[in-house]
Symmetry: C2
Subunit: 296 residues, 2 copies
């Protein structure tokens, strides 16, 4: 490496003395190093005689090669330092299917703007796979809804109203606001209990606080399916307002008083690297600048 730099310096100056001066080095040491390089390669690189130095044919061929090695090395150094600052590398991001439609575009756009060399790979996944993936390190961060599990750290990115979702033409559909207890007598469609126990534990608490146990006539996985069932008149359900972006026909969203849903970014604190920190910074500024949930 050093010998390559020395070689290039001598080749550029065509003089051991001047190259040595340029390198802040004694001419003798430079001679010695070039000889060592020539010995190592088994190739004579310079024709020297008492009145100067010229490149041999082999030396002329070696000069661009040596330059290429050095610049390759220099860029490697720059790249690893940028990677260390989290400006390069790869981030695998998981989006909960029901949050992807409004969270993914602004996040990806802002990241590409601030860190164009950071390679983002995004995945739309159900909640259980999302949590397992973050824990296993398959995902560096996930955009999802709480509650999750204790070993993941979360930060709230957006808060939005929760709405009752009623079939169009339902007696309560023209109300401006409802409370959960207004829906005690309805038929309900909800997601399967096993999809993510922490969510259903919270639902159970909410329904208990409203003083009833919902009569569940149908369970279906995924927000689009729930909305389809509501539109078909099978029952009512309860979703964050951003779910409106998935389906607008045949269903009516009526805000539920004092009921809010959070969207969070979640990650493993042990795996918090610089690139992840940059992602968290960017999402934090996003939270301040725009209403993320209105994008859908």
């Amino acid at each position: 490496m050093r010998q390559l730099r020395y070689f290039v310096a001598v080749a550029e100056h065509l003089s051991f003395s001047r190259a040595a001066e340029y390198l802040n080095l004694a001419q003798q040491s430079l001679s010695q190093q070039i000889q060592a390089l020539e010995r190592g390669l088994g190739v004579r690189l310079f024709d020297r005689d008492t009145r100067g130095t010229r490149l041999t044919a082999a030396g002329q061929v070696f000069l661009p090669e040596a330059r290429a090695v050095l610049t390759r090395f220099d860029t490697a150094v720059v790249v690893v330092q940028r990677a260390d600052r989290g400006e390069m590398g790869r981030l695998n991001l998981a989006f909960l299917t029901s949050t992807a439609n409004y969270m993914l575009p602004p996040v990806v756009r802002a990241m590409r703007e601030r860190f164009p060399d950071l390679e983002l790979t995004t995945y739309n996944v159900p909640i259980d796979e999302l949590v397992a993936g973050v824990r296993a390190g398959r995902f560096d961060a996930a955009f999802t809804r709480p509650p999750l599990v204790a070993d993941l750290v979360t930060r709230v990115l957006a808060v939005e109203p929760v709405c009752a979702v009623l079939p169009a033409g339902h007696p309560l559909a023209n109300r401006d606001v409802l409370s959960l207890s207004d829906l005690a007598a309805e038929n309900w469609v909800l997601t399967p209990r096993e999809s993510w126990p922490p969510w259903h534990a919270r639902y159970d608490r909410d329904f208990a606080a409203a003083g009833f146990t919902p009569r569940v006539v149908q369970r279906a996985a995924g927000v689009p399916n729930l909305l389809g069932l509501v539109a078909a008149g099978v029952g009512v359900t309860r979703l964050a307002r951003s779910a409106r972006s998935i389906r607008r026909t045949g269903v009516v969203f009526v805000p539920l008083a004092d009921d809010h849903a959070e969207t969070v970014v979640a990650w493993m604190p042990a795996r918090e690297g610089p690139a992840l920190r940059n992602l968290l910074d960017v999402t934090a500024t996003l939270t301040g600048t725009a209403d993320l949930t209105s994008a859908g």
Copy 2:
């Protein structure tokens, strides 16, 4: 450089101990070198703890970079060694205009076959420019006709008969062979005396030996022009038989007894590098295998 090799070894083995064994090195020394590398870069490359070693995100980015630098270096070494053996590099070859038509194709073809990575550049030049170019180093070798000058070394590649060139229908045109003295009474066309004095000095000796001084009615530079003048009946001239390849109509070539012309390769002995030696080897084998002058 060494540190890069060490880094790649550790990254591949994901263990300082095993990598050290692989490198025939104490684990402690390897640890030390990696620390030095990390200190030099200002970047932590490995997450080590008591039960193993993993690459950091920056390390993962650095691994392909380091590999690239090393392979670039390895190819540089191979390239310079091939260049040293004369298998790579560049050769500038000069061909005397009148020899190019039969010498250039076989030489270039044979060189491309034996040394495909040797870059050949060929030039068709008049004799004075050819000699000056070889002396100045613009050409590494030249294919031409002797005599030249003392400081160029030459090797004979081909010998061919010299012919009297007569207009078609000339009284002597149907003879199988002539001697120079048969042409004492003819009108002559020859090249200008200043084109290349050593040639004309030889011509003068030949004519003197034949017992006459040619009556020169026209001087013209270049074999095609001479042939044109002969075809036009202006006079006769004297050329190597290979000149037939330039023009066959209106002229008749009759061999001159005991008169032969050589084609030689010429070079500066001081500039004799490995690539040039390879060229000389190839031309030597060419001389053995085929009649070069018949190609025209």
